[in-house]
Symmetry: C3
Subunit: 264 residues, 3 copies
């Protein structure tokens, strides 16, 4: 750990075997870092959260990589192989499964859940209280809101189910529910519930297709994305990915009848 000559590491922090801590970091006392973690330079790990979180630790699983200039609060738990870009903020009460990836400059406002293998790109903004399933993609500038009458004390967080893809620049309005495997086209603004497997697009977004009809014939790629992108995940995730793919496809014909057939 020769890097951290100018870092301030609490002697009460529980730091696993073979952890590397960069230059100019601060590790607060209520932190548990699993083995083989790497903490980038100028990162601040385990910031004290409010009184509701007093004494609750920050647990970061083995093999995680936090890139430089991170700010991560106490009161959160991450499974193994958390990976963050640079300049991320993750607030208290964030509970995440295995291998969450958080893009640079992303802002996770806390009191929220992520399943396994979620990927957030740059400037993704996850409002307090959001629930995000497994194998979800939130591309750059995705915003998950939560106040239906801003400003107010009402709280209607967003739910994003397994396998969902939210393309660049999308706003999910308060209370939005994205059902399993749907895809939101770039620059859309979404309210209400989007059915499983749907493609929704527009401001406001409407259902325009099913993901099984999204394809790039020239390159032989066709959604659901588990058809062509499963290899980006480790072997132990493959069975779950294929089960998710099948669950999305099984409802396709009924979906077409219900959502894509003109009413008589």
């Amino acid at each position: 750990m020769s890097d951290h000559v100018q870092s301030l590491i609490s002697p009460k922090a529980r730091i696993g075997h073979n952890v590397t801590i960069g230059h100019g970091c601060r590790i607060y006392e209520n932190v548990e870092l699993g083995e083989n973690c790497v903490i980038g330079d100028c990162s601040v790990i385990g910031l004290p959260a409010g009184v509701a979180w007093a004494g609750k630790p920050l647990k970061i699983g083995a093999g995680s990589t936090i890139r430089s200039h991170a700010a991560i609060y106490a009161g959160s738990e991450f499974g193994p192989k958390l990976e963050t870009g640079h300049h991320v903020l993750i607030r208290e009460g964030t509970m995440a499964g295995e291998n969450l990836r958080v893009g640079s400059h992303a802002d996770i406002e806390g009191d929220c859940t992520f399943g396994d293998f979620c990927r957030l790109h740059s400037y993704a903004h996850v409002g307090r209280g959001s629930h995000v399933g497994h194998f979800v993609w939130l591309y750059s500038l995705t915003t998950l809101t939560n106040d239906p009458l801003p400003p107010s004390d009402l709280h209607a967080p967003v739910t994003v189910e397994d396998g969902v893809v939210v393309c660049v620049g999308v706003t999910l309005m308060p209370g939005t529910v994205l059902r399993r495997g749907c895809l939101i086209a770039a620059e859309s603004s979404v309210s209400g519930e989007v059915p499983g497997g749907a493609v929704a697009s527009g401001r406001p977004a409407t259902v325009v297709s099913h993901v099984a009809f999204l394809r790039d014939l020239a390159h032989g790629r066709q959604h659901p994305w588990m058809n062509h992108f499963a290899a980006a995940y480790p072997p132990h995730a493959q069975a779950r990915i294929q089960a998710l793919r099948e669950a999305i496809l099984v409802g396709r014909d009924e979906f077409v009848r219900t959502h894509l057939t003109p009413k008589k």
Copy 2:
């Protein structure tokens, strides 16, 4: 002040009683911090501004909290209880009243004014020269622009009056004027002048309603937001908030006749 073992604090900085400075910070010489301020880790306070600002200090009022990784220039003044999120940038010539709150990753470009009790959320971007009144809300990804013919040397900054609410993802085009108490719906793009109390929406935004008609009947909340959210402010602000509420409501009937009644 035991935290700042690796901080570089100018002996010329004027630091009030009971100030806490985090790890890895730099406090430049031309800084005045009021009593009971807290400066988060890895923050840079009082960065030298250009020659036009030479010798002008950075004054931060008592009881302020600057969270980690801030970059704040000299040549600005903030009233008491400034609060910032993480990774904020505030440039020279920013003059703010009491209890400005600045969201994480926000970018205030300087040479601008804020009244009291303004709230900016994440990634809010306030262009140089903007004027923002009291009790204003700028939600995430709000952008205040200023160049009407980009790139040019023309400068048409934005004005936002008291009590205005700008919802998530809104762009205020150069020269926009938002009159007292209006509300801009999410994802709108605004030019010109929006009347007091109006609800404006769309790209380009048009007047669609009056804020007094925005309500959540199930929970008994109704705009103007001062009806249901005044308790989020301290006692000494309440009289001003109620006066602002009344000023917004007094023009409602005339507003309906002028803006919401079909022309014959």
Copy 3:
């Protein structure tokens, strides 16, 4: 170099004459800084890139200014007078000419090229593989994407030619090509190819005019911007700017016939 009392500077870094390095920085070994550079506080310069970039240095030209909280990877090269705002990220494989300016909180994802004198504003996001010409403007919240079927392994980066202006909040979809001197209006979403000198606007963007028709009569300003903004560049750039202006104007009449004349 008295500032860097708490900085960690590799003895293998090649640091030019009269370089200033701020407080709390880290300079990795594979870095070349030209003379008269200024590195802001809490910056991390020369972060190790992946194995494909092993041994490739980070070269930053003379007279550059990197503002605080930067994260810049090895494996990139910048001409003289690079200037960055605060909290920027620049990844490996970024090749840039003279006087690139990168706005605060910007994210350059690497494996990309910039010509001379490009200006990126806050939160500009340049996806991996992008090609950007000379004298280009990318305003705040511009996003250059690259995946046409997200998520996939397909890669269709964006090309932006010389003199292009992309206004605030624009998304350039995968494979977009912006030809010389075109201008994309604020909040547009662009796919395909935009002709040289065109003004494109909307979601999806369509050609609506030629830049030569953009003017502010009250102030005597008229596009192409080289008419009124060339003075913002140094003397040795003037001949190139005027040649670019002429190249944009020479096609105007043909452009009008082709793109702006109603079909019979």
